[in-house]
């Protein structure tokens, strides 16, 4: 098993996440896709630590931070989503056009 294997898996996972974020109409879908991207990054971090810097634990530590942030993001995101849903009665992003000038 080489580092390249893990990196490949991580990049594929990341791209799937990107694809999801770009295409899902449901806002929860987008959130899920973002989680996938976070995980891809985490795989990378863990793999780099294992293969390049086995003496320390910086990769795992950073991954933990990412998890923390991701958790916070999901929690707040879902809360916001609920709030928006209550107001607009829809979960589809194309209907959210408050940004329109």
């Amino acid at each position: 098993m080489t580092l390249a294997h893990y990196l490949t898996v991580a990049s594929l996972l990341f791209l799937i996440g990107v694809f999801g974020a770009l295409t899902r109409r449901n806002i929860i879908g987008i959130l899920m896709s973002i989680e996938l991207m976070f995980n891809a990054a985490n795989i990378n971090l863990a793999a780099f630590e294992r293969f390049l810097h086995p003496e320390g634990v910086a990769g795992a530590t950073l991954a933990l931070f990412i998890m923390t942030v991701a958790a916070a993001e999901v929690v707040v995101g879902l809360a916001l989503l609920l709030a928006i849903y209550r107001n607009t009665d829809t979960a589809y992003v194309e209907d959210y056009n408050l940004l329109k000038g």
Partner: protein, 164 residues
């Protein structure tokens, strides 16, 4: 050999589940596959010898975030959603983007073709603990602050109009 089998099977699970996440029409199914995919990632962590990360992944993501999302989906979901397209019109462009990007990303990956693990994995939980309580204390505390803020924010936003 066993290492290979573990890696490939876990990768397959992760990727297939991820593809299902982004393509499933039923959002509930999507969220279930998300849990599966995250569990796969946890497996990969284990294969990499990051034991603490594995544990954290299972606890935070698989049992925390994935479940939370599942609940939200069920809260927001409607029966009519099942008949609607869940993917918008720009999916082809997205495919294109992903293809193009993959070229770049895979190129990086190729650069590490020959990189093998220098030594057997060692447990790192103790080291992480020392790091958090020592050198990285400040970021650690900041992270806790972020989580508290997130908690408060979540409570604030999700209160119903009536209770305000």
């Amino acid at each position: 050999m066993i290492e290979h089998i573990v890696f490939y099977s876990l990768s397959t699970v992760v990727l297939v589940a991820a593809v299902c996440v982004v393509t499933m029409r039923n959002t509930v199914h999507s969220s279930l596959f998300l849990g599966l995919s995250l569990a796969g990632v946890a497996g990969l962590f284990a294969a990499l010898g990051a034991d603490f990360l594995f544990a954290a992944q299972v606890m935070v993501y698989v049992s925390g975030i994935a479940v939370l999302i599942m609940f939200s989906v069920m809260l927001l979901g409607r029966a009519s959603d099942l008949h609607l397209r869940q993917v918008n019109e720009q999916w082809m462009a997205a495919v294109l983007i992903c293809t193009v990007s993959s070229a770049g990303l895979l190129k990086i990956a190729r650069a590490y073709c020959g990189t093998l693990a220098p030594s057997a994995p060692t447990p790192d939980t103790r080291a992480i603990g020392r790091l958090f309580m020592g050198e990285w204390l400040l970021p650690f505390e900041l992270a806790s602050l972020v989580l508290t803020a997130a908690l408060l924010g979540a409570v604030f936003f999700s209160r119903s109009e009536a209770s305000r």
